[in-house]
Amino acid sequence: MSQQILIIEAGRAERHYWTDLWRYRELFFFLAWRDILVRYKQTVIGLAWALLRPFLTMLVFTLVFSKLAKLPSDGVPYPIMVFAALLPWQFFSNAFSSAGDSLISNSNMISKVYFPRLIIPVSAVIVSFIDFLISGVILVGLMLWYGFMPSWHLLILPVFIFVVFAAALGAGLWIAALNVKYRDFRYIIPFVVQFGLYVSPVGFSSSIVPERWRLLYSVNPMVGVIDGFRWAILGDNAQFYWPGILLSLALVVIVLITGTFYFRKTERGFADLI
């Protein structure tokens, strides 16, 4: 019998938080597993949905931006260029919206059982990450179809995957914690996601943005992340705009740190508010 001593006091939850998080580490996996299992129950094509949605979006974007708007593609097949950006963008937007709603949709658990609350939004991000990996298959398929050979840049891709993960988690933590108290954010989330798609270089290359606006454009952290993805996947065909990427990176770090901090600060009151 482990005789650990637990002390409950106002403002004391901090002390065993990180050890608890470690003790409950399997719950990250279980909650993500639950969401994935549940999502494709009673669907006919099941997991294929994870492939179909990004594939169709890619087709529409290629049609609109390449065939109709005749935008340049930096010398690579337009579908590949679109998909290299669609991957991180869809991961970010899915993770952001599901993490944002995660606490509210699990309110029952929050008011009846103890566990570190951080697990809920994190596992929502993990679920979107798994979708991201699955839709990565389409990218491989496109590259084979067009006979496109990636360069050594591809080795750097994990770094950018890590960055987009951090961006999604940071923004998700902020919105999840705010959503518990101010339900207005429930309406802000879909708006941000829709708006973000237009202000991020998903359907087009960021090289069409005039040079003097590039740095300002990079205030949107997803610009740097998407440029990084394109650079890693398309090789030398995509430019690497250092100032923009560094600015985006710094913003991602700030959002993640402040998000975690805000979440931890408000977490104690979740059960009373939700």
Binding site: F30, W33, V38, I110, Y114
Partner: protein, 419 residues
Amino acid sequence: MTTVISVQNLGKKYILNHQPQERYTALRDVMANSAKKLAHKLRYPLAIAENDATHEEFWALNNVSFDIKQGDRVGIIGGNGAGKSTLLKILSRITEPTAGRVKIKGRVASLLEVGTGFHPELTGRENIYLNGAILGMSKADIKNRFDDIVAFAEVERFLDTPVKRYSSGMYVRLAFSVAAHLEPEVLIVDEVLAVGDAQFQKKCLGKMHDVGLEGRTVLFVSHNMTALKGLCDKAIWLKSGSVVQEGSAEDVVSSYLQNGMAIKVRQVWDSPETAPGDKSIRLHSVKVTYEGDEVSKVIDVSTSLNMEFVFWNYVAGAQLNFSIVLYNNQDVCIFNSVSEAKSYPLGKVIGVCQIPKNFLNDATYRLRLLIVKDKSTALIDLDNVVTFEVHDIERTGAWYGKWIGAVRPTLSWTTFSQS
């Protein structure tokens, strides 16, 4: 015996909003209010922030202290809003206390609700793993105890069926079973026996009893006093957030029940002017009397009760009849009993209606009294004139579940063998 849970001066404060609004805050209101406050500050920089009249502090728990020893099975009793759930929520770390300190030795598992985290779309097997993980079990632990959990819940055949197709009994059994196999040092259980059938209640109580015998500590909240006395050796009585009494379950439960009795077994209107009625009659009093009421003996199933009412009659010659309607706490009408129509002389009139013993079930009842003139006009129709509670009697045998039925009459039985 060592102290496992030590609670010192525990308090929990909630802020009540008096504005009619939703449970959550809208950002719009916060921004509007902050702007108002800022404007106020700018105009009167020296004013002290006034106390917001729309907010009121409410202490759900106030200065609660007690100690619980290892292996104790402690019942927590009290009316609605006494702070029982808040106490359990603090002990299971769902919410933080505002004041005070709790020291707990060992792992705590709490079952505040049946099947928290169960997902209706997942199968029984999947839910066991998920629920176990939510309650803090590792995958290896769950695997080891999987067979025990399934056997206890008696759901072997339905393991791969989504739990949304389960009967509510199966659902409850599975949920309780997962929590009971957590093998915590402290098990906290809130009113979960209200659901599930009698046989399963018995099984749960038995399991909690065993948990206690293994040297683990059990905290149990229930409104079912018979079950509570059967399971717990100690009890704590909470009222309006404070401890009223703690001690042996037997003592605490009986003083709690007696206290609950005093509520409204009688109502008296001293002056005819303010009493219900009109110019022809005025009500004077309504009360429930029974043998032993002077010594505030508790009403139980085997008590015979008199519904007694007194009124002033101002009109001679009118044909009056009386009607007593009894409702239980589920608002089910138990009966409507009507007296013969008669005329009465001027002055005070007393009426008594007797409810025989071994007729009512254990529940809280409320009385509605009607006085009708000439079989057509209701002079008085008063609902909720008195309320009283009928308690369960000490039963033989180990079953403590709620006795079903609106009434619980002793009927005559004949059994014989045909030869």
